[in-house]
Amino acid sequence: MGALISFIAVIILTLLAYGGVKSANMQAIFGIVLPYAAIMTFLIGVSYRVIKWAKSPVPYRITTTCGQQKTLPWIKQNKIENPSDAMGVTVRMILEVLLFRSLFRNTRSELQDGKLLHGSSKWLWLGGIAFHAAFFTVLFRHLRLFTEPMLLPLHLVETLDGFMQIGAPRLLMSGVVLLGAAMFLLLRRFLIPQVRYISLPADYFPLFLIIGIAVTGIMMRYVTKTDIVSVKELTMGLISLKPKIHQGVGAIFYIHLFLVSVLFAYFPFSKLVHMTGVFLSPTRNLANNGREVRHINPWNYKVKARTYEEYEDEFREKMKSANIPVEKE
């Protein structure tokens, strides 16, 4: 049901853009107003979320330790999985953010009656990393629409991306991988019972949205062969704050752009903020050195605890008869 709601929502969005451009001639709305509004929502919204999280302090050093602690000199510390200094934490965070270290841990292979059982759990890691890597490559490639002349790294990425040398225009792997990985993540939600059970509409919606974006993007490049020159004029207009609508850009472009706008605008209100949140996660970005260095809790306050005097007052006679030293005879 959650999937259906989300699917219908994305279809409606698509039709909205199509209808808006085709019959109502609202190119200016979909090509200029909404993209600006979306990017503003994204920037303000995400900053707001990050500031709000950052305003909540980290009162305790609650590292999740996944390896040997720093201890006696002859015992080898796992400096990355159980970091005790900033260096270790940095490496841990890099592995976490770029390589999804924790997800990779999801290993499952055991000998049972001499038969090695392989876990399917690495698939989530693979799907996840393919999805995110492809997403950022595609995003990066789109910078070509916003820079003149094109930057060198863009050429490099594009060359690498098209290494398969198939077709004309050359097939870029990132788009294909993005679509494939998004489909995989979606299928997971349909097919794995646990995951289906926990999935909310908010989990399906961004997937459908991204699939929609990828499909329209791929269609523009390989099928409808959208006039890239006109598109670039539009995007350069947007980035230089002199927006102008060009005829000759098909409806499919507006659908693509609208879905992207929705994604950006939706971002700060959704689970997609995990992109920024992961950096703040206290179980990962703290060193496990709570016994070595004192961690300060900004809202620390004194509590009323039982004092020794109260304790001795209650038990003095019993302590004396048991020959336990007391303060007051």
Binding site: R108, E110, Q112, L117, G119, I192, P193, Q194, Y197
Partner: protein, 172 residues
């Protein structure tokens, strides 16, 4: 064809249906989890069920019922004994086998000999069910024993001081 051969031929189908039927006694959410995950460490419960029903199947079809099989039977009942189910539900799974075998054999030509064999097989299943009932009760009792033993262990010093069980080391 001899009954046992017939059953061995259909072993895979019967076991699968039996396994699925047992899962039906769980909440649907739970059932599907048990069905899907195959790693014995990630899904120990379903592993126990599989081993147990394979063992029982071997037992009633006259194959070797090993010690391991009897252990897996015990494990299964241990599991049933700590689940939120009634005693009848706990042992009902054995009777499922009867129904499944009847259903699987409904298209076979029944000779008198085969029919008689089927009857004795069903008696064997009944016996297994009784055995399971014994095991179930044994493990329910075990739970209560664990509770009382735990209290004794927790109050070990108290019991010793009052010269109750367990006695002091000197006297042992």
């Amino acid at each position: 064809m001899a009954l046992n051969n017939l059953l061995k031929e259909k072993e895979a189908v019967i076991l699968k249906r039996w396994f699925d039927a047992i899962l039906e006694t769980y909440a649907p959410e739970t059932a599907n989890q048990l069905r899907q995950v195959h790693d014995p460490f990630a899904n120990p419960a379903s592993q126990s069920i599989r081993q147990c029903i394979e063992g029982i199947f071997r037992k009633i079809t006259g194959q070797i019922f090993t010690e391991k099989d009897s252990l897996s039977l015990e494990n299964m009942l241990k599991l049933r004994a700590i689940q939120d189910i009634t005693p009848s539900q706990a042992v009902s799974f054995v009777f499922f086998l009867k129904m499944i075998i009847r259903d699987e054999l409904k298209n076979e030509a029944y000779s008198a000999a085969l029919y008689n064999k089927l009857l004795s097989l069903e008696s064997e299943i009944d016996e297994t069910a009784l055995l399971c009932f014994d095991l179930y009760v044994k493990h329910r009792q075990k739970i209560y024993e664990l509770k009382s033993e735990e209290i004794k262990r927790a109050a070990f010093m108290l019991l010793r001081k009052s010269n109750q069980q367990p006695c002091s080391m000197e006297e042992r």
